[in-house]
Symmetry: C2
Subunit: 349 residues, 2 copies
DNA sequence: GTTAGCACTCTATCTCTTTGAGTGCTAAGT
DNA sequence: ACTTAGCACTCAAAGAGATAGAGTGCTAAC
């Protein structure tokens, strides 16, 4: 493996990504920076094929990168430009939404932006709510025997659910149950709100308060929502524009997107590129998936990535993913400010 | 136009819908209930073609229904079976969700179920929130200078939004603004909550309260959400399975689904079938769209429909649409009970 | 180690032919 | 007057060669 062979491999990948056609020795030879004849390129390509980095669709066609070829290109050969400053600003603007910003919204915006920019499907598996803290619990009467429980987290998420009781609460009862819930839940991290803990909570209620158990049940459900990861999937339609992806497989993928979670949640660090053929059956042939983790308070709390054709401009897409995951990590790890915090002084009224 | 010609037209439509192939005179003649020779069928078909109900892809092919052909079939010839009882029960079960049921949820379930059952894309344009009444407004402190406004409607929807103020409110201030908002908004129909009215509300605030204007702004935004119709679009993927729909056009449609609203909101009554070619540019070729209105308190408050290939089993799909629109009308027009009402006695605490 | 030259391979494309389903028309039958 | 069998006709779809050309591997010269 000499320098030139690697250069040729890179050129084949880039040329194939650009045109979608198998690339021949002549085009490569004519590229600036090669400076050898087509025959020489042919020899090198034959070698690269033997090594498993290139393949021919048929004898008289040009070469196409294999998965190993792509992998080598991505890991060693590709230039990894970081995004230019103005581009970064543009992205930052896409992420910033008007109004108070919650983590939830931030991650939604990022998903949409990523799909838009890469023209791929963007997919995010977000566990971050799990690592936030209940900052407020409220019970609000909302009609005959109906009460809304409201949960606000340190990440700025506001969740509500209507619960039906057997009877109406008096003001005293309402105050009683509100205080009880506030006392036991505010300041507790979402992660700790296990089913078990919620059951203990019910158990801790006096016989008198047992009639208000549906409220606890409601909170239980809300916290289950928070603990479970959220899977976001945007820009699916982009996948239908690619000739090399099978439309039916795309439909399958969209319908079984839940199964992607397994791939997304695999533990790894940095940026990972996966190829359809290599992975589980739920990924499309000829596709690749580029994933990165984002972090919060030292934990991996989510993965974000894109799914696109294997023939993808990695040098363009990877910097996007890198930037977004870094940016999200920065933003959600920030010392919570204003709207998304409940510091000790003001938590208890 | 005699009886037999109509029977033949119906047979052609049904056969074409079943097989997707142009249908010839021989198949029709062999169908039970026809009882004449292929030659006779041929003569009749030639006549039907002259009248514009059938056409031939090319001279030596069978016949395919034209749009007029489909229309005649749907309006006059098709048997309109209503759904069998057990099927109705099954649908009712799909609509019923566990837990307190809101109109919003009901309509979401209906959309999903419709897409599932018909294997088409289901689309719903829902104006019903506009015709509900604000039953409760709450302001809840949620952190430093951040307050959540909560709006509950008679339809059972619960909306919230975080607002940021310039400073923290004292308990008295909170009570003041809460009372003020409750007094001016509870019992008011969402439809009446125009921008104008909200501005008047701000104007009616004392100079002292002006600092709390962001809360009104927040409510304004929530009410805008409620007033604007919601467009639901489910089962898009189903469209990719149909050979006769152009994949690219489907992508276009999905990306510009907002434009469908214009078609959905056209005023008409009963069930309406539209064909791609006839309508605006945003509908796909070879597709048809079946829409019905649903009502609440005497108004049309929404449209629900499916988009599928023109070659669709109308006799199966139309009854579904009919049943769903009737069912939704019944359910949302019901005297609001329990969770989704705020009757006078208990509205004001 | 590199390169020009050349025979070879194999797909994509084109044309030509064949096949067969389906028609329209005519003439006979009821 | 309507129906039907028969038949010639049409035309898309499928198949069979034939052709062109892009790209290769190999050899021999540089």
């Amino acid at each position: 493996m000499n320098e030139r062979k690697l250069k040729i491999l890179a050129a084949v990948v880039e040329e194939y990504v650009r045109t979608g056609e198998p690339v021949g020795s002549k085009v490569i030879a004519s590229l600036p920076g090669i400076g050898v004849s087509a025959a020489t390129v042919r020899n090198d390509m034959a070698m690269l094929e033997q090594l498993g980095f290139l393949e021919q669709p048929h004898t008289s066609a040009g070469r196409v990168p294999t998965i190993s070829g792509y992998r080598l290109y991505i890991e060693e050969l590709m230039s990894h430009p970081s995004l230019p400053g103005e581009e970064q600003e543009r992205l930052d603007k896409m992420l910033a939404d008007q109004g108070p910003m919650t983590e939830e919204l931030l991650i939604q915006n990022a998903t949409t932006a990523l799909a838009e920019l890469t023209q791929c499907a963007a997919v995010v598996s977000d566990f971050s709510p799990k690592f936030s803290v209940i900052s407020k619990v409220e019970v609000i009467p909302a009609g005959k025997r109906v009460y809304v429980v409201l949960l606000i987290t340190s990440a700025g998420s506001i969740k509500n659910k209507a619960c039906r009781l057997e009877f109406d609460l008096t003001n005293e009862q309402l105050a009683l149950v509100s205080d009880f819930l506030a006392e036991h839940l505010e300041g507790v991290s979402v992660e700790e709100l296990s089913e078990e803990r919620m059951q203990n909570l019910t158990a801790a209620m006096s016989a008198y308060m047992m009639t208000m158990a549906p409220l606890v049940e409601g909170i239980c459900e809300l916290s289950r929502d928070l603990r479970h990861h959220a899977l976001l999937f945007k820009g699916e339609n982009n996948l239908f524009s690619y000739e090399d992806l099978d439309k039916m497989e795309v439909v399958q993928l969209i319908e079984h997107k839940d199964e992607l979670v397994q791939l997304l949640d695999d533990s790894f660090s940095g940026i990972r590129v996966m190829f359809g053929e290599d992975e589980g059956s739920f990924v499309i042939g000829n596709s690749s998936m580029i994933v990165s983790k984002y972090r919060k308070g030292g934990h991996n709390v989510g993965s974000l990535g894109v799914i696109g054709p294997m023939r993808l401009d990695y040098a363009k897409v990877i910097p996007y993913i890198a930037y977004f995951s870094q940016k999200i990590t920065d933003l959600i790890s920030e010392e919570p400010s204003g709207q998304d915090s409940m510091t000790d002084e003001n938590r208890k009224e």
